[in-house]
């Protein structure tokens, strides 16, 4: 099905199952421990041997020699894979560094060997017996120092590196009120619950990988390219994923080395990264330096807006596209955005939790708070005044498909009690706490991606959905079941959803908040095809046939849907492809974040007291799992604002705090009441589901609301994340801190 004209009324609009809060259908399997995860596939690959990854001890340079003898003769060792034994390997298009390093080393903890043994303990012990001689080389590990050498990155995710409209420099120069500030965000780690893990088995020249991966088709392609074998020899199975956050978008070392290990050992092998290996071996979110200039008139109306971003990655990598939202969020005729990329020899940077906007808004929305203060306009009102209903770079001929930004601001402010905020900082005290309120815009592009599914129904009216879509804890199983139930008029209990298998039709996968809308739209297309078949079988004209209550009905004639499907059952497969509506219309999701913090008047400890948000993201397919997504994302916003940071050792070139005792993410005690409001919105240009992405929207702007609340509480304006005690204490002079 090609989606290139706005959706009209369709069966999803009945809203009997879709749009209704529903418990996760995979919940019972997860809480009873019966959902099989990648490292636990004893059922599918019994007798798997254990692989332990050895990571490079240097960040840059080369391996001079590897002495495997002691390890090879250690108890239980079955095989050792290194660059010398692996055979010729290619590299997946989506990997920057090689997943198996050597002799050239590209980053710290890059895998250089896999030791395979009959037990986990034996593999890990033997790994310590490897003797590896390295010749380290001088590397580049300091973004600020390399900033001057940054270049224009090639066009990739997020569009061109630079955009412009009008004449930014001239517009900014003549503005009555100016904000011109620099902001920084640190390197961050995904910190998902389940580590990267794979069980691999060969059957002749065919490889099966039970793995934990967000994007099945990408994993197949990149594995085929790396192993130099045909794609149809590779099967990826990833039905359950214990979180990904972008860290599992790509093929990683666990999968490659499990495959190589299984080949070397002649039996199934499983590999999981140990927690302390994850930050340096896998990908992370790159640090950014951002300069924002906003020129406005005295009423806060923006005339000029510029956002420049510097980030770093390994040679051949890509930038953190943190200026994305600035292209679309606020009005202004004179505009400029620019991304620059420096080469760094730190581990590979890539997508994490709403790449682009998540860190772009951390900066932009402080800048807006600074503009609000400079103009004396209330921060909510300032954003309302600068709303724009079309793509401000392209002009009115490219309107938004739907944009309820102002409604989010108004309703969010009202629910939160924003009118009680005292604009002047440092005025409100509650015992030892200085109390402040802050807000920020939420914005995330609405991406769509082609997505396929097949759907079958048997003689008892039981429906099966199959697609290689993944559920990374987001609720994909449930919204797909809801979609099929709605389309076919059967109860959700009659639907079985099978996901995450490369034998199933290719889907959008999970990433960039495109998964839910795209994958359900793909299933919608398959269901339309099945409805046509069923209607034809009944002898009814498809467009007049109603599917409800387990019946296929035309007027007062009806037949049970199972009976129509017959003993042999009936299947249909289709996919959704998106046409030019994404070019004709700017498509994005919107919201407003509100936050109240307390800052200890003496110690500068920050505690978030309340958070609230209002969001407009098209049809909300399952309000329960959507809310879970958004409050989880708001929690990540608190992490980004207050604590998450990989510390770079600029001498050795690695992330020092590489375990979860030292890389802090919020705990329960950090997260207060979170209020989430979804606005009623249907976006007929986004997909037949009239839905948009929502999962990542919640993180976008959340951290800036925390930062602005800290400013309101204390009068201290911090521009370098995370906003920790040391930074607040350094500016206590003249603030409301004691």
């Amino acid at each position: 099905m090609k989606f290139d004209t706005p959706a009209t009324t369709n069966p999803i609009d009945r809203g009997r199952v879709v749009g209704v809060a529903h418990d996760r259908i995979d919940g019972p399997a997860k809480v009873t421990g019966t959902a099989p995860y990648a490292y636990e596939r004893h059922d599918a690959a019994p007798q798997a041997a254990y692989g332990w990854i050895v990571g490079s001890a240097i960040a840059k340079g080369k391996i001079d020699a590897m002495d495997l003898r002691a390890a090879q003769s250690a108890p239980g060792v079955l095989a050792i894979v290194t660059h010398q034994t692996a055979g010729p390997l290619g590299k997946g298009a989506r990997n920057t560094a090689h997943l198996l390093g050597g002799p050239i080393i590209e980053h710290y903890d890059q895998a250089v060997a896999l030791v395979i043994a009959d037990s986990f303990e034996n593999a890990r012990d033997a790994a310590r017996l490897l003797r590896i001689d390295y010749s380290p080389e001088k590397g580049r590990y300091d973004l600020a120092a390399e900033r001057g050498h940054a270049t224009v990155p090639k066009e990739g995710f997020g569009g061109p590196a630079d955009t412009a409209a009008g004449n930014f420099e001239a517009g900014f120069a003549k503005a009555a009120v100016k904000v011109d500030q620099s902001y920084t965000t640190p390197d961050q780690s995904h910190a998902m619950m389940e580590p990267h893990a794979t069980t691999a088995a060969w059957d002749g020249d065919s490889l099966t990988l039970w793995t934990s991966n967000q994007m099945v088709a990408w994993a197949v392609e990149d594995m085929a390219a790396t192993l130099k074998i045909p794609k149809d020899k590779i099967r990826i199975v990833t039905p359950y994923i214990g979180g990904g956050f972008g860290g599992k978008l790509f093929l990683r070392a666990d999968a490659l080395l499990a495959a190589l290990g299984a080949r070397a050992a002649g039996r199934p092998v499983k590999v999981a990264l140990a927690r302390p290996q994850i930050p340096n071996n896998t990908t992370h979110r790159a640090a950014t330096i951002q300069r924002i200039r906003i020129g406005a008139d005295r009423d806060g109306i923006i005339g000029a807006i510029g956002h420049e971003v510097w980030s770093g990655d390994l040679p051949g990598g890509g930038p953190e596209v943190a200026a994305q939202q600035t292209r679309l969020l606020y009005r202004g005729t004179d505009r400029l955005t620019a991304h620059r990329l420096a080469e760094l020899d730190l581990p590979e940077a890539n997508a994490m939790r709403a790449p682009g906007e998540a860190v772009g808004l951390l900066a932009l929305e402080i800048a807006m708070d600074e503009l609000a203060e400079a103009t004396g306009v209330d921060p909510v009102e300032l954003r309302i005044r600068n709303d724009v209903q079309y793509d401000p770079e392209a002009g009115p001929q490219r309107p938004f498909s739907s944009r309820k930004f102002v409604e989010c601001l108004r309703q969010g402010a009202e629910r939160f009690g924003w009118e009680r905020r005292v604009p002047q900082p440092g005025q409100v005290r509650d015992g030892r706490w200085l109390v402040g309120m802050g807000m920020a815009a939420a914005f995330r592009n609405n991406l769509v991606a082609k997505s396929g599914a097949r759907v079958g129904i048997d003689g008892r009216g039981h429906v099966v959905v199959e697609t290689d879509m993944t559920d990374i804890g987001t609720g994909s199983y449930t919204i797909l079941a809801q979609t099929a139930a709605e389309m076919l008029g059967v109860p959700i209990e009659a639907v079985t959803v099978r996901l995450g298998d490369s034998l199933f039709p290719k889907s959008a996968g999970s990433g960039g908040q495109f998964g839910a809308n795209s994958a359900t739209a793909g299933l919608y297309a398959a269901c339309v095809a099945l409805r046509e078949k069923l209607a034809a079988k009944a002898g009814f004209p498809a467009n007049q046939t109603v599917f409800e209550d387990g019946l296929v009905r035309l007027g007062n004639q009806s037949q049970p849907i199972g009976a129509l499907a017959g003993e042999e059952g009936m299947w249909a497969e289709d996919r959704i492809e998106f046409g030019k509506l994404t070019q004709d219309y700017a498509q994005a999701t919107f919201g407003a974040h509100f936050c109240e913090v307390g800052v200890d008047v003496d110690t500068a400890e920050v505690r978030v007291r309340r958070m609230g948000g209002a969001f407009a993201a098209g049809r909300i397919l399952n309000p329960k799992s959507a809310r879970s997504q958004v409050i989880g994302a708001m929690t990540m916003g608190v992490g980004a604002a207050l604590m998450e940071e990989l510390h770079v050792d600029k001498r050795f070139g690695f992330f020092v705090n590489h375990d979860m005792a030292e890389y802090l993410v919020p705990v329960h005690a950090d997260i207060p009441e979170q209020d989430v409001l979804f606005l009623d919105e249907l976006d007929d240009k986004s997909s037949p589901m009239k839905a948009k992405g929502v999962g990542e929207l919640g993180i976008c702007g959340a951290g800036a609301a925390v930062a602005n609340a800290i400013y309101n509480a204390t009068g201290i304006r911090l521009r370098d994340y995370p906003l920790t005690i040391d930074k607040l204490l350094a500016q206590r002079e003249g603030s409301a801190l004691a």
Binding site: H647, F652, V667, I725, L729
Partner: protein, 316 residues
């Protein structure tokens, strides 16, 4: 983890006898096992001391409190005598780790837990404490969480315990028995050692010496406060912590965590209480040698004391 043998001691005598031929005691295992998995500790023999009858809390004839070495942190924090007479200890324990860890962690194990310096944990990095003579990775690297006072050029690691800070302010004593049966009572002030040139030697214990209990002197009365400042609300090690007892007659005692290689207490700081938080901080940190990354801890010690003085004033 290197292969190791394991035995379960049935009595204190049994335990120390077993240890005389090498081997390490294991209590809750919440620190030792983690270190063994990373091969930072590589004992070839483990002696399980969980089944010795060292899990009692009893009053001493003098009116103090004897805490068995195997008393779990949860049980100690909840004990009515501790809550009544040594509230600072209960509060410190509850500020540490998580509920699950405290259920497992023991009194002796907590005292002996090792530093959280990230370079200590990465065996590819230089670390004098882990590998004497290899250098200190942290001194010119990531040192934000590490110690500012009592350090040396060889090591700036902090002692991470909360419990030990409260025990230090209470002037506890560590009771031990050696392989030859000798018993000693080591004042907690002397128990932990500063790094000097030998950061791998962290305390007074001789090889095979077993901690049997920790004894608290008679209750001090007064107001007990424990204030722990960290980068998140719970389940994180202290940037700075302060244990304080105000006796109500103008006498005060302070011990500090997160800032030194051992629970930190300076007589001059106790004496400076009347002059206020700033004076206490100054006395406590007289010899501080922070790095650029952790210099803020000096200010934070003062702020935490200010907060704690305020908290005390606010109490009836």
């Amino acid at each position: 983890m290197k292969p190791f043998t394991y035995s379960r001691a049935a009595s204190v005598e049994d335990a120390v006898a077993a240890a005389s031929s090498g081997g390490r005691f294991i209590a809750g295992g919440t620190n030792l096992l983690d270190l063994m998995k990373l091969q930072i500790e590589t004992p070839s023999h483990l002696i399980d001391v969980n089944h010795l009858e060292l899990d009692r809390i009893e009053r001493t004839p003098e009116g103090g409190l004897r805490i068995g070495a195997m008393v779990r942190n949860t049980a100690l924090a909840a004990h009515p005598d501790v809550r009544r007479d040594y509230a600072v200890l209960s509060r410190a324990l509850l500020a540490g780790a998580s509920g699950q860890l405290r259920n497992k962690a023991t009194t002796a194990g907590n005292l002996l837990q090792r530093t959280r310096c990230p370079y200590f944990y990465d065996t590819r990095m230089p670390c004098n404490k882990r590998k004497p003579g290899s250098g200190c990775g942290a001194l010119k690297g990531g040192s934000r969480s590490l110690a500012i006072v009592g350090t040396s050029d060889a090591c700036i690691a902090q002692h991470p315990s909360d419990m030990a800070v409260a025990m230090r302010v209470l002037d506890a004593a560590v009771d031990t028995v050696a392989a030859d049966g000798t018993r000693r009572s080591i004042p907690i002030a002397d128990f932990h050692l500063l790094p000097g040139d030998t950061p791998h030697i962290e305390n007074q214990l001789k090889p095979g010496e077993l901690i049997t209990s920790v004894t608290l002197p008679n209750p001090l009365g007064g107001t007990h406060v424990y204030r722990k400042v960290r980068d998140r609300s719970s389940y994180a090690f202290a940037l700075v912590s302060v244990a304080a007892v105000f006796d109500g007659q103008g006498g005060s005692r302070f011990a500090f965590g997160g800032i030194a290689p051992k629970p930190w207490r300076v007589a001059a700081a106790d004496a400076a209480a009347a002059a206020g938080a700033g004076a206490v901080a100054q006395a406590a940190l007289a010899d501080a040698r922070p790095t650029a990354q952790n210099a803020f801890k000096q200010q934070l010690v003062a702020s935490t004391l200010t907060s704690l003085f305020r908290q005390k004033e606010a109490r009836p």
